[in-house]
């Protein structure tokens, strides 16, 4: 007798709304990982998300939790306001690289420096996806975008910002790591990291962030498969995966 084994289902952390992301975009993967972690930790009921401005602006439609929607870059400040008056809730932001590392650099640095007990999911796709693929602070040197048509010239357009490395220097940060979403193994590692980030918050151990190297096939002008290869071959060498800061208290967490 054949038995049926359910190997894939929508996590409880999701609503029934299908996402609007382009085919092959890893925003969807990142969403799923967050939803699974919230479900596994049993915190869906007490979670409040803060959506950004960027392709994930409608993140609030997909997670089955309360959500507020921030102005471009201000999610960490908004999350600070929510968390400070609701300290027993789980509060997370989900932000792109333009949102977090350009217009919102002030807000993210100071939320981290204050050691706000919030979790930040940071999607680094090396461009401004939503507005049609302009250069972001994370765009690789030489990378072509619609606003660096000849390739990013670091002499005139500056150097990319390595956010995890930078934030890990701040004392308020408990957990800060970079992972990638380009293959199943790395996706599993990313999920573990997201879990640890939320565990950090649940224990009040300070600011937690997971930077996720992500794809934007549409604006990169690549097939989804080639986009994944681009992450592996070009982004990871520039943005090394790793644990940039895990405080001693967090190292003790066993899950």
């Amino acid at each position: 007798m054949a038995t049926e084994n359910l190997v894939y289902d929508r996590p409880e952390g999701f609503t029934d709304t299908p996402t609007h992301y382009c085919p092959g975009c890893t925003h969807g993967v990142a969403h799923r990982l967050v939803a699974e972690v919230l479900e596994e930790m049993g915190v869906i009921e007490k979670t409040i998300g803060v959506a950004p401005v960027g392709c994930s602006v409608f993140a609030y439609n997909y997670f089955d939790t309360d959500f507020v929607e921030a102005p471009h870059g201000r999610a960490p400040a908004m999350a600070t306001g929510v968390k400070r008056v609701m300290p027993d809730r789980i509060v997370f932001t989900y932000q792109g690289d333009g949102d977090l590392a350009s217009i919102g650099m002030g807000e993210i640095v100071h939320a981290a420096a204050r050691g706000e007990n919030i979790t930040v999911i940071f999607i680094n796709n090396a461009n401004y996806g939503m507005t049609g693929g302009q250069m972001a602070p994370t765009t690789l040197p030489g990378m072509k975008t619609t606003s660096s048509p000849n390739g990013r010239d670091v002499e005139t357009q500056g150097y990319p910002i390595k956010v995890s490395e930078m934030l890990s220097t701040l004392d308020g940060v408990g957990y800060c790591v970079r992972r990638s979403l380009h293959d199943p193994k790395n996706i599993r590692l990313a999920k573990k990291a997201i879990r640890m980030a939320f565990e950090t918050q649940a224990r009040g151990l300070g600011f937690s962030m997971v930077e996720l190297l992500s794809t934007c096939p549409t604006n990169w002008g690549m097939t989804p498969v080639n986009s994944l290869k681009f992450v592996e071959e070009h982004m990871i060498p520039f943005y090394p995966l790793g644990d940039y800061k895990i405080s001693d208290a967090i190292k003790q967490i066993k899950i």
């Binding site: 609503t15 869906i44 009921e45 007490k46 979670t47 409040i48 803060v50 959506a51 602006v57 609030y60 439609n61 089955d64 939790t65 309360d66 959500f67 507020v68 929607e69 921030a70 102005p71 201000r74 400040a77 908004m78 999350a79 600070t80 306001g81 929510v82 968390k83 400070r84 008056v85 609701m86 809730r89 789980i90 002030g106 807000e107 640095v109 100071h110 204050r114």
Partner: protein
């Protein structure tokens, strides 16, 4: 409660605490900083939230986040800082979460100076942030009024899910006067049906956002907000009248300009001149109707402001050219003396006034000796 000597800024801070303020987020800027400093001590003492933000941009978005959960929240700043808050103010208006803001105005534009001014009237009353929205704006002229209006602002903000801004100039913020504090109200978190404070196993999920991606929805929202504003206009206009019963000349001035004008009015009355004062307390909603009615029975108006005639345009709208409207302003941080306003009253009582020259142009000509 007995009267005590209070400094304007500290009085506002304590009044907010007594009105049930649960969270304050701010950034230092003169002449407002005492509000921040006072609350940095007072809020933690009461187990409430105080955060010195990285900027006014940070502060307003912290306010925005906290407001979404339904708590009583406030920020305060002075002109340049309020400009930086405009992004958040527009989002808060679009999301319809109650928020109290205090602007202790200083001389501008730009960095300007730290002297008292009223140059942010238009920014406060006629928007400043993008999109269609209208905040409630209250303008105290004394420390006592600053206390009372701060308390009122929390109630109005919640009643209408609106932004309520208290605008005062550095004079009211910095001066000390005897004033009476209200009783301490307990912190009370209203269980609004929009509080976005996590489901907690009790309800469907909630989203608060200023996004209405379908233009038709956005239009509906704008119209709904506009209709709410009409209710506010019908119910919340507040102003003070002085010597208006038999007045032939009526001065219109808010905040410190109104208060200085009152001194001039008293002196003029002693001299037998029939002059009165209407001092708007809500500059938004503006007392159009009261002025409209007055314009049917008085000879002329004099608008006094510590700016270049921003409220003047609203007075002109109300008066509709029926009688002459004159203007006298000092700006850039200069506060008018009662004597200056008194000589304007004398001038108006003496010469025949017309309506053909814009009052600002006429005033500019009279100011030629300064420029």
């Amino acid at each position: 409660m007995p009267k005590e000597l209070w400094k304007g800024n500290e009085a506002i801070a304590e009044a907010a605490v007594r009105a049930g303020l649960e969270a304050y987020f701010g950034y230092p800027i003169t002449p407002q900083t005492e509000i921040l400093e006072y609350l940095s001590r007072r809020m933690p003492e009461l187990g409430r939230t105080f955060v010195q933000a990285e900027s006014e941009l940070g502060a307003i978005n912290m306010v925005y986040g906290a407001a979404c959960t339904g708590v009583r929240v406030m920020s305060s700043s002075s002109s340049p800082g309020v400009s930086l808050m405009m992004e958040g103010i527009s989002y808060i208006a679009g999301t319809e979460v109650p928020t109290v803001l205090v602007n202790v105005m200083r001389g501008g534009p730009g960095l300007g100076n730290i002297a008292p001014a009223q140059g942010d009237y238009n920014q406060a009353v006629h928007g400043g942030g993008h999109g269609d929205y209208q905040p409630i704006v209250l303008a105290p002229a004394s420390v006592q009024e600053a206390i009372d209006l701060t308390v009122l602002s929390f109630d109005l903000a919640e009643k209408y899910r609106a932004i309520c801004m208290v605008i005062l100039d550095g004079c009211v913020g910095q001066m000390m006067e005897p004033a009476e504090m209200p009783e301490m109200r307990p912190v009370h978190r209203e269980n609004w049906d929009w509080n976005t404070d996590a489901k907690m196993g009790k309800r469907e999920r909630r989203i608060l956002s200023s996004i209405y991606i379908d233009p038709v929805d956005e239009e509906q929202t704008n119209l709904r907000l506009l209709n709410r504003w009409k209710t506010i206009q019908a119910n919340e206009v507040r102003y003070k009248e002085y010597f208006l019963d038999d007045a032939e000349i009526v001065i219109v001035g808010f905040g410190t300009a109104g208060r200085v004008s009152l001194s001039a009015v008293r002196t003029a009355r002693e001299q037998g001149i029939k002059v009165g004062l209407l001092r708007p307390i809500t500059v938004s909603p503006f007392p159009y109707e009261a002025l409209d009615q007055l314009s049917g029975r008085v000879d002329a108006f004099l608008v006094t402001e510590m700016n270049s005639g921003q409220m003047l345009e609203d007075v002109r709208l109300a008066v509709k050219g029926r009688v002459p409207v004159e203007f006298y302003g000092r700006l850039g941080g200069v506060v008018p003396f009662p004597d200056e306003i008194l000589s304007e009253i004398h001038r108006m009582a003496k010469v025949k006034l017309g309506t053909d020259v814009h009052p600002r142009d006429a005033w500019l000509e009279r100011m030629a000796h300064i420029v």
